[in-house]
C-alpha cells in the first residue's frame, strides 16, 4: 500500500464532540499553517446543539491558494467515538487515520489502504495533568503537538501562537506548551517517517488576514457609522452583533462616564428588530440588524414598509439552510428571492453579495451610504460559510478621507430657503429620490406624515389611481438609479474565444474560480461573471447575451439567482443552465467542473 504523499496540498478533518473545547486547538492548528505562509481554509461543520453531538473541523491546506472546500479527506483526527467508523470510512485511499490509542481499535478498522496513527492521548494527558477540567482541553492540544511532528511543521510557530493566544491568561501558557511537547515527542518516538503529508513554509499569504465574515461585517457597521442596532439572536448571524458590540465597547465608549455612542437593543423578535432599525433610520441615525432566513420571513412586513415609505435600513442576512428552521448550522444561498422581492405587493430590494471578509467589511459600510442615498433597505447577503468560518482575506482598509453619504436630507436653513415648495416624495432631480427631513428640524416647515399607505408627493394619503401609479413608477426610476450606485460585477473574459460563460456570487466564488482552472486543464475555456449586487446592471445582460450558454452556479435547489436573472433581464431563459448544490455543505470546485463537463458532453462536446 502506498500512502498519500503531499506537501502543502491536502485536507485534514478533525472529528470532535461539540462542547469539548476542541475549537481552540483546531484554530491553533489552522492559524499555525497560515503563519507558515501557506494558504489555509478551515470549515467548521457543527450541529445545532450545545454539547455532546458530533462536530467536524475541516482544514484545507493549499499552497496554490484554492480556498474552497475540497470534498476529499486525506487525514482524519478521530476524537469522537460516535462518528469514528464513518470518519474512517470516509478517508481517501492512502489516507491517514489518527486516533486516540488509549483504547484499542476494534477489528472493524481493517482497511489495508489506510495508515493508522495511534497516539494514546488520554493516557498521556492523564499522566501529565492533574486538573480534570484542564485535561479535556489539553488532550486536544496534545494532538496538535503530534500533528506538528507528523506534518513536519515548525514547532516554534505553534509555541509562539500559544503564547500569543494566552497573552492575557499567562497561567495557561506552560500547560499548553507542555501538552504540545508531549504530543510532538510521542509522535517523534513512534511514528517517524510514517506520514508523507507535510506543511512546508512558503510565502503565499502576503498581507492577508484570517478572520470570519461576521467579525468583518460587525466592524464594517462600526466604521460605516451605525449607532442603533435592533436584533434578535439567531444562528448564524449572532456573531455579527457580538462583533459590533465588542468593537463599540473598544472604540465608542466614553472612558469617564462609560456612556456608549451606540444603542444595541436586543429585541423580542425579528419584527421588532427591524422596526427598531426603521424607527432609528427615520429619525436620522444609521441603524442595522443582522438575521438569517427565519428572521427575514418575519421582517418581510417591515421591509415592505421601508420600501414603500422610503426609509433607509441596513439588514445583514447570514443565510442558512432552509426552508423553515431547516438546518440552522449549515450553509446555503437560499434567500435570494425571499430577499430580492421581500414583502407583499410590488417590491424590489437592493442586495449586496460579499465573497470574503474584506467584502463583508466594505459592503456593510457601503450599505449605509447606499441605504441613505436611495432611502430604501439594503440587504447584505452573507451566509453561514462566510459568516462563521475563518477565511483568508485581503486586509481590511479604510480611506480616512471618506465622508458618509447621508443622502438627500434637508436641514433647517434649506427648509427656510425652499419656502412652501417642498414635498417629501417630489422627484425634483429626476433620480426618483425625494428629499427627506428628520423630526425636530424646523419649528414650522418640513414635518410630514410617514405612512405605509398610498401617498401623494406631499405624503398625503391618497386612493387616487393616478397618484398611486405615479408613485410606483417613481420607485422604478429610483431602482434605475440604484443600478448606477451598487457595485459592478466582476467580469473575467479570456483572450481565447469562449462560447460558455459562468455566473456565480458570494461564497461560491472560491470553488467557481478553482473550477475554471480545472476546466481549463481539460481544454474547456469558460468566461466568468461574479454578481456583486441586485439590481443587475447592463453588464450582466451583456455578458449573458455574449455567450451561447451561461452556467449559473448557486447553492440552493431552485436556481433562485437564475430565476431573478430571467425575470429582470432581457435574456433567453434557455441560455441559462443551473449548476446547483444545496446539501448544506459549502460547494466544491469538483461539483461545478463535473456538472459543466457533463453538460458540455451532453450538448456534443462544444463549449
Amino acid at each position: 500500500m502506498k500512502n498519500i504523499e503531499s506537501t502543502n496540498d491536502f485536507v485534514i478533518r478533525f472529528a470532535n464532540v461539540n462542547g469539548s473545547g476542541s475549537a481552540s486547538a483546531n484554530n491553533l492548528f489552522a492559524k499555525a499553517v497560515f503563519r507558515m505562509g501557506v494558504p489555509v481554509s478551515p470549515k467548521n461543520i457543527f450541529p445545532s446543539n450545545i454539547q455532546g453531538l458530533p462536530t467536524w473541523y475541516e482544514v484545507r491546506i493549499n499552497e496554490q491558494g484554492y480556498l474552497g472546500r475540497h470534498g476529499d479527506v486525506d487525514m482524519v483526527v478521530a476524537m469522537n467515538g460516535q462518528t469514528m467508523k464513518k470518519d474512517y470510512e470516509g478517508l481517501l485511499s492512502g489516507g491517514y487515520f489518527f486516533y486516540d490509542s488509549s483504547r484499542k481499535l476494534s477489528e472493524e478498522y481493517g482497511r489495508d489502504d489506510v495508515a493508522l496513527i495511534g497516539i494514546p492521548l488520554t493516557k498521556l494527558c492523564n499522566d501529565a495533568f492533574e486538573n480534570p477540567k484542564m485535561r479535556g482541553l489539553l488532550k486536544n492540544i496534545i494532538y496538535v503537538g503530534a500533528l506538528a511532528f507528523l506534518l513536519d511543521m515548525e514547532f516554534e510557530v505553534l509555541t509562539s501562537s500559544v503564547e500569543k493566544q494566552y497573552r492575557k491568561k499567562s497561567k495557561l501558557i506552560p500547560p499548553n506548551l507542555k501538552a504540545l511537547e508531549l504530543g510532538y515527542a510521542y509522535a517523534g518516538e513512534n511514528y517517524r517517517g510514517v506520514c508523507k503529508l507535510a506543511i512546508s513554509r512558503r510565502d503565499k499569504v502576503g498581507d492577508a488576514v484570517i478572520m470570519d465574515g461576521n467579525a468583518a461585517t460587525g466592524l464594517g457597521a462600526l466604521y460605516g457609522g451605525a449607532t442603533v442596532v435592533g436584533w434578535y439572536p439567531i444562528t448564524p448571524s449572532t456573531s455579527v452583533i457580538e462583533s459590533f458590540g465588542r468593537y463599540a465597547e473598544r472604540f465608542r465608549k466614553d472612558t469617564e462616564t462609560g456612556e456608549l455612542k451606540a444603542a444595541i437593543v436586543q429585541a423580542e423578535d425579528e419584527l421588532a428588530a427591524l422596526g427598531i432599525v426603521i424607527g432609528a433610520s427615520w429619525n436620522g441615525a444609521r441603524a442595522f440588524t443582522a438575521t438569517s432566513g427565519p428572521g427575514v420571513s418575519l421582517m418581510s412586513e417591515f421591509l415592505g414598509l421601508a420600501y414603500f415609505a422610503e426609509i433607509p435600513a441596513v439588514l445583514v442576512n447570514v443565510q442558512r439552510t432552509g426552508p423553515s428552521t431547516g438546518m440552522p448550522t449549515r450553509t446555503q444561498q437560499g434567500d435570494i428571492l425571499a430577499c430580492g422581492y421581500a414583502s407583499h405587493g410590488d417590491t424590489k430590494q437592493v442586495l449586496l453579495f460579499p465573497c470574503n471578509p474584506k467584502e463583508c467589511f466594505d459592503m456593510t459600510a457601503d450599505a449605509f451610504d447606499l441605504a441613505e442615498r436611495l432611502q430604501t433597505p439594503v440587504i447584505v447577503m452573507s451566509d453561514l460559510d462566510l459568516g462563521m468560518n475563518d477565511h483568508m482575506s485581503p486586509p481590511l482598509d479604510w480611506d480616512d478621507s471618506r465622508a458618509y453619504d447621508r443622502g438627500k436630507v434637508l436641514d433647517k436653513d434649506q427648509l427656510e430657503e425652499l419656502g412652501d415648495s417642498w414635498g417629501r416624495y417630489l422627484d425634483v432631480d429626476g433620480d426618483g429620490i425625494g428629499y427627506r427631513t428628520y423630526p425636530g428640524t424646523h419649528p414650522t416647515k418640513g414635518s410630514y406624515f410617514t405612512r405605509g399607505t398610498s401617498h401623494d408627493e406631499y405624503s398625503k394619503y391618497t386612493e387616487e389611481s393616478d397618484a398611486y401609479e405615479h408613485n410606483m413608477q417613481r420607485l422604478l426610476q429610483k431602482w434605475e438609479t440604484a443600478k448606477e450606485l451598487v457595485p459592478v460585477p466582476e467580469v473575467m473574459v479570456g483572450n481565447a474565444p469562449a462560447t460558455a460563460g459562468m455566473i456565480y456570487y458570494g461564497t461560491s466564488t472560491d470553488a467557481a474560480l478553482e473550477a475554471v482552472d480545472q476546466l481549463r486543464e481539460q481544454g474547456i475555456t469558460i468566461n466568468t461573471l461574479r454578481i456583486k449586487a441586485f439590481p443587475f446592471q447592463q453588464d450582466v445582460e451583456n455578458f449573458i447575451r455574449q455567450h451561447d450558454l451561461v452556467y449559473v452556479v448557486e447553492q440552493n435547489r431552485d436556481g433562485q439567482m437564475k430565476t431573478l436573472l430571467i425575470n429582470e433581464l432581457d435574456v433567453q431563459p434557455d441560455q441559462l443552465v443551473s449548476v446547483l448544490h444545496y446539501d448544506g455543505m459549502p460547494i466544491t470546485a469538483r461539483i461545478i467542473s463535473s456538472a459543466i463537463t457533463a453538460s458540455i458532453a451532453h450538448k456534443g462536446g462544444k463549449a
Binding site: 432609528a280 433610520s281 441615525a285 419649528p443
Partner: protein, 350 residues
C-alpha cells in the same frame, strides 16, 4: 361629519409660555365617526401639549394601524408623524427614541393594535421602560373592519351584532404595572378634566407612561350591553383619586386634609398631587395598584385615575447607558475609529 374647519380663532386666545397658540398644536381634519371617543382624546392631547408649552416640532407622533392609529394625522400638524404597520408602533418608537433621546415620543395605538397583534411589542417596550407616552385608545372592538371584539372587550359585553363576547379580557394597565412601566393611568375620553392633567403628568414622566383611555366606538360598540359604551363607563367608573399636575416652579397653593394627599415629584421636578379617597393606598406601590384594579373589577367597576407611578424608574437610555448626546447628531469623528485602528485589527488577525 364636516370636512371643513373654520380657521377663525378668538383673537384674545393667549399663547402659551413658549409663544405657541392652541392652533399650532392642531392637525388635519378628523375622518373618524362623529362622536368617536378618539376625537375627544386627540383634543385632550392637543390641550396637554399646549399647556405644557412643548414646541410642537419637538414631538414625534407614531402609531400602528386602526382607527386610533389614524389619530396622529388629526393632531400636532407641525410634528413629524409615522403611521407604521399593525401592532408595531412600539418598535418604531424604540428605534426613533434610541436615535434621538431629546424629542417627546407620543405613541398612539388602539386595543386591537396593542392587545392582540401588538401584544409582544407592547410588553417589551414596557419592559425596556422606553421613554414615551403610550396612549391606548380602548373601545373594545375593531372599527375599521366593522366591529369584531378585541382582546380588551369584557367577557359578557355585547356589541352591535348582539352576540356577547365569550373570551376573557386583557387588562393592559395591570400588565403594564407588572412589566415595569413607571407611569400607568386609566381615563375616559369623555372626562377631559381627568385626562388632560393625566396626559401632562405622563409627558413629564421619564420612562414608559402608559395610559388606557376608554374611548367608546359610537358605531359598533356603544350599545346598551357594551361595557365600553359612553353610558356604561359614566355609570361604572370610579376614580381612585383626583389629582393636580403642578409644573416645575409653580407654587403649590391648594390645601387638602392631611393624610389624603400624596405628592409625587417627577424627573423634571414637576409634581403630581393626588387627593385620595383611601389614604392607605400608595400610588407608588406596585402590588397595591394591581390589587386596587382587581378589587374594582370584582365589583364591576372601572377604576380610573393615575394608578401607579415609579418616579425613579430608569428609562432605556439609562439602562443601556447610551451617550447623552443624541446618537443621530454624532458624526464620523465620533463614530469611525479610522484606518490606523483598522490596521492594528488586521495585525491581530494574522
Amino acid at each position: 361629519m364636516t370636512f371643513f374647519r373654520p380657521s377663525f380663532r378668538h383673537p384674545d386666545l393667549p399663547p402659551n409660555d413658549a409663544g405657541y397658540y392652541l392652533k399650532d398644536y392642531e392637525g388635519g381634519i378628523s375622518t373618524l365617526c362623529a362622536g368617536c371617543g378618539h376625537d375627544s382624546t386627540n383634543a385632550a392631547i392637543i390641550q396637554a401639549c399646549f399647556e405644557l408649552s412643548i414646541p410642537p416640532h419637538k414631538i414625534a407622533k407614531i402609531s400602528g394601524i386602526g382607527c386610533s392609529s389614524k389619530s396622529p394625522a388629526y393632531l400636532l400638524g407641525k410634528a413629524h408623524g409615522f403611521n407604521s404597520v399593525h401592532g408595531r408602533m412600539p418598535s418604531i418608537v424604540t428605534g426613533a427614541n434610541m436615535a434621538n433621546r431629546d424629542l417627546l415620543y407620543l405613541g398612539i395605538s388602539g386595543d386591537g393594535d396593542t392587545a392582540s397583534i401588538g401584544m409582544g411589542q407592547f410588553a417589551h417596550a414596557v419592559r425596556r421602560n422606553l421613554n414615551m407616552v403610550y396612549v391606548m385608545m380602548n373601545n373594545g372592538c375593531y372599527g375599521l373592519t366593522k366591529g369584531q371584539y378585541s382582546a380588551t372587550a369584557d367577557k359578557g359585553s355585547v356589541g352591535k351584532k348582539g352576540e356577547p363576547n365569550m373570551l376573557e379580557s386583557i387588562d393592559l394597565c395591570e400588565i403594564a404595572i407588572q412589566l415595569g412601566a413607571g407611569f400607568v393611568g386609566r381615563s375616559f375620553s369623555g372626562d377631559k378634566r381627568q385626562l388632560v392633567p393625566m396626559l401632562k403628568a405622563a409627558m413629564s414622566h421619564t420612562g414608559m407612561a402608559f395610559i388606557d383611555v376608554i374611548s367608546p366606538c359610537v358605531t359598533f360598540n356603544n350599545t346598551p350591553g357594551s361595557t365600553k359604551s359612553y353610558h356604561w363607563v359614566r355609570e361604572h367608573s370610579e376614580a381612585t383619586n383626583t389629582f393636580d399636575y403642578v409644573p416645575f416652579k409653580q407654587e403649590i397653593t391648594t390645601d387638602y386634609e392631611d393624610g389624603t394627599t400624596e405628592s409625587v415629584v417627577l424627573h423634571d421636578n414637576s409634581v403630581i398631587q393626588l387627593h385620595k379617597k383611601d389614604s392607605s393606598i400608595h400610588v407608588t406601590d406596585r402590588r397595591q395598584a394591581v390589587d386596587a384594579l382587581e378589587e374594582h373589577k370584582e365589583k364591576g367597576l372601572i377604576l380610573t385615575g393615575v394608578l401607579y407611578i415609579d418616579p425613579d424608574s430608569e428609562d432605556t437610555h439609562r439602562i443601556i447607558n447610551t451617550s447623552r448626546q443624541p446618537l443621530n447628531t454624532l458624526g464620523k469623528k465620533d463614530l469611525c475609529p479610522g484606518n490606523e485602528a483598522l490596521q492594528s485589527i488586521n495585525e491581530s488577525m494574522r
